[in-house]
């Protein structure tokens, strides 16, 4: 049995719930025959992938849903073998370049060349071109992006590229200038509630408004998360009434604990304690940026107004260093030490101030 997120995923542009304007645009573009290269961007869980697959279906019909997964071998310039899984149908192919690590350029180049040079063989195909979907396009290396530039211009007659990314900042200007940009904003709370109600109706049960509000408030605009939480809650308490408790993911609770540790005590011993917790989180593959942001946001909730800006400043500072640097833990730790010392200095300041008033 599949999860609700998958089971109730819209399959066609008409079934999509929110951003009707966007769906209408996609539909007209798919119908016009001169479909451009596209770049979908927006926060995670906003529905980019769903929209892309609906667009594909609009372009090619049911055939795109017949997927096969191939394992392909690429040879890097240094003669290393890379094995990469590729999802494809007769009409499109999907790649996630981060799987290729530093060799994304080789993979992209080979695949695109190959596709560009093969004509659509299926005579019944609705379009002459094949579509290449590049997921997480913002993690493409500069090199790989450079390799895309002219390819995108040259092979336009039998290939279209759809890039999918959270942000556009990391894409180079020549790539952006070759694509039609499609912003997919997170759905509004009302829109999310409609989706939840739709699911409830399909499954023939009642969703109390309080419950749906609570789920939506917890999700931060992430539709996927909302649906997952919804399903979990329904399993816990089938009638969804009374006060619901939405369990936070373990890693989040854990991050909050770390934040509390930092605020409670500022000593070398505490730094060591926090450090081991960071290791724990990292070893569970929680991305370091997520760790830093979650902890920092929790810390600023519990400190004085005058400290908040500084704490976030150093979070931004060390997050940037962490990107360039190699050892994530150093930078997480450096931030903790920085925050502790800031906190201590201000506390002393207040303390001294109070004393002088007493005298």
């Amino acid at each position: 049995m599949s999860l609700w997120v998958d089971k109730f995923r819209p399959r066609t542009l008409d079934e999509l719930h929110y951003h009707e304007g966007l769906s209408a645009r996609l539909k007209s573009l798919a119908a016009s025959g001169d479909f451009p290269h596209m770049l979908f961007y927006g926060p995670s869980g906003a529905g980019k992938k769903t929209r892309i697959s609906c667009t594909l279906k609009q372009l090619f019909g049911n055939g795109v849903e017949k997927l096969k997964i191939d394992q392909r071998v690429f040879i890097s310039p240094s003669k290393r073998k890379l094995e990469i899984n590729i999802v494809q149908s007769n009409f499109h192919i999907e790649i996630t370049p981060s799987e290729a690590g530093n060799y994304d350029r080789v993979v992209i180049q080979e695949l695109l060349k190959e596709i560009a040079q093969t004509q659509q063989v299926d005579l019944n195909a609705k379009q002459r071109f094949k579509v290449v979907i590049i997921n997480e396009a913002d993690s493409l290396s500069r090199d790989a992006q450079a390799a895309l530039r002219r390819t995108m211009e040259k092979y336009m007659s039998n290939m279209r590229i759809i890039l999918c990314a959270n942000s556009t900042s990391r894409l180079i200007a020549p790539i952006k200038s070759r694509c039609l940009l499609m912003r997919v904003a997170a759905p509004s709370p009302e829109e999310m509630q409609t989706v939840l109600e739709h699911v409830a109706k399909k499954l023939r049960f009642d969703l109390p408004p309080e419950a749906s509000q609570q789920i939506v408030a917890d999700s931060g605009g992430n539709m996927r998360k909302a649906l997952l939480v919804f399903e979990a809650l329904k399993m816990q308490s089938p009638d969804l009434s009374g006060s619901l408790k939405i369990a936070k993911p373990d890693w989040e609770t854990y991050c909050h604990k770390v934040a509390d540790l930092i605020v409670q005590e500022q000593t070398p011993a505490r730094v060591m304690e926090v450090r081991s917790k960071f290791y724990e989180l990292l070893s569970h593959c929680i991305p370091p940026t997520v760790i830093l942001k979650t902890v920092a946001e929790r810390v600023v909730e519990r400190v004085d107004e005058n400290l908040k800006a500084d704490i976030m400043h150093w979070a931004a500072f060390y997050e940037c260093r962490m990107r360039i640097g190699n050892k994530k833990i150093y930078h997480l730790e450096a931030w903790v030490v920085k925050v502790m010392s800031l906190y201590k200095v201000t506390k002393h300041f207040v303390y001294d101030f109070d004393m002088s008033e007493f005298e």
Binding site: R25, S28, L29, A31, S32, G33, D34, P36, Y41, G42, P43, A46, P77, Q109, L112, Q117, Q119, R128, A146, L148, R149, R150, T151, E153, K154, Y155, M156, S157, S167, T168, S169, R170, A173, P174, K176, S177, R178, C179, L180, L181, R183, V184, A185, A186, G220, G221, T289, K293, V300, E305, K308, A309, M312, H313, A315, A316, E319, C320, R323, I324
Partner: protein, 369 residues
């Protein structure tokens, strides 16, 4: 064009219907006189057409200013359609460019002796000078080693080949290579030339655009004509797809270009304590006392939820602050520092939310000091 060469055999039965061609390709200049702006370059190159003596060349400048188009057009004018294929070799970053491969390709290409045949199948006469042209597009993504090796190659085949290096950043081309070439700088297109070109395209495509739309196109594309043309085509696709067709508006262009709506940026700026003039809906200006960390954080989260790009948001905020009529210079300077830091961080791939927040807080601090 290289595109048609590789495909020539297969593509004939599948010839691209011009109606479905992207306009950037459809309206790529066919001759060097079609190239907008870049007067100096065009003037010099026009002379080479009559003297048929060509130096090695280096074209550099920002994206979408006509570099690739110019060299392709020039080559076509020199050799005509029949000889283009055996006289011009185009290599770019998407081809394999390990130096051994480049050497091999160039060697093979240069070996075949040029055949002169002046009158082409289309009835025109072409100068057809006795050399071949090798275009190295996107040359700035070649490694230093490869560039070094290229020096020798250039010398070896100097008698029968001319090189044209094309790049965005001239500083990434090694000096010995650059000094062998005549340099041509391509500047971002000025608004007069862009306007002219865009109106030509619009009338050829039979769409009506208001001056307002054209000026939005030019503002949002920053002198990159390719971008302006792409935006125009997308906007016209969208506007003609509605029933009945609606005219193209500046707002469509802004949305396509990923511009953050003015009221969103203004609202954010106001939350940071910037006095924003000249917008109509001043409902609920942020109360001076309530301005603080939480307000800023909330605004940033809202911007992130909408999916606006951080660099775009910051560049618009930057413009509001730096061109602000009443802010003191010292405060502006402090803000400018924050913008600079953030730009660097974003280029390094840092988290967008953290850095919009950082800029917001720094501006807030600078303005309240």
């Amino acid at each position: 064009m290289a595109f048609f060469q590789g495909q020539a055999k297969t593509a004939t039965k599948h010839m691209v219907d011009p109606a479905l061609q992207p306009w950037v390709e459809k309206y790529r200049p066919k001759t060097i006189d079609d190239v907008s702006a870049q007067e100096h370059t065009v003037a010099v190159l026009r002379k080479t057409l009559t003297s048929t003596n060509l130096p090695h060349m280096l074209f550099y400048g920002p994206p979408g200013t006509g570099k690739t188009s110019t060299i392709l057009a020039l080559s076509r004018q020199l050799f005509g359609p029949d000889n283009f294929r055996n006289r011009v070799l185009e290599l770019n970053a998407s081809d394999e460019r390990g130096i051994s491969i480049v050497r091999e390709k160039i060697k093979n290409f240069a070996r075949q002796t040029p055949r002169a045949q002046m009158v082409a199948s289309d009835g025109n006469t072409y100068p057809c000078p006795p050399y071949k042209i090798i275009i190295l597009d996107e040359a700035d993504s070649m490694t230093q080693d490869a560039q070094g090796a290229l020096r020798r190659i250039m010398e070896t085949y100097a008698r029968i080949t001319r090189f044209c290096l094309v790049c965005n950043y001239v500083t990434r081309i090694i000096e010995p290579l650059a000094s062998r070439c005549s340099k041509f700088r391509f500047t971002p297109l000025d608004s007069t030339s862009s306007t002219l070109r865009l109106s030509q395209i619009a009338s050829a495509e039979n769409i009506s655009v208001t001056p307002d739309v054209v000026s939005t196109l030019i503002d949002t594309s920053g002198g990159d004509l390719r971008r302006a043309i792409t935006y125009l085509q997308s906007a016209s696709r969208l506007s003609s797809s509605t029933n009945p067709p609606t005219p193209i508006t500046s707002k469509d262009i802004q949305e396509i270009a990923g511009v953050v709506p003015t009221d969103v940026v203004n609202d954010f700026a106001r939350a940071l304590g910037v006095e924003v003039f000249g917008d109509m809906d001043t409902d609920g200006p942020v109360d001076g006392k309530k301005r603080g960390f939480e307000t800023v954080q909330k605004k940033v989260k809202a911007i992130m939820r909408e999916g606006y790009s951080a660099s775009q948001t910051l560049s618009q905020l930057h413009d509001i602050i730096i061109t602000h009529p009443t802010l003191p210079a010292k405060q502006k300077a402090k803000c400018a520092l924050a913008f600079a830091e953030a730009d660097k961080a974003l280029c390094d791939g840092s988290d967008e939310e953290l850095w919009i927040l950082e800029v917001g807080l720094q501006v807030l601090r600078a303005l309240s000091s």
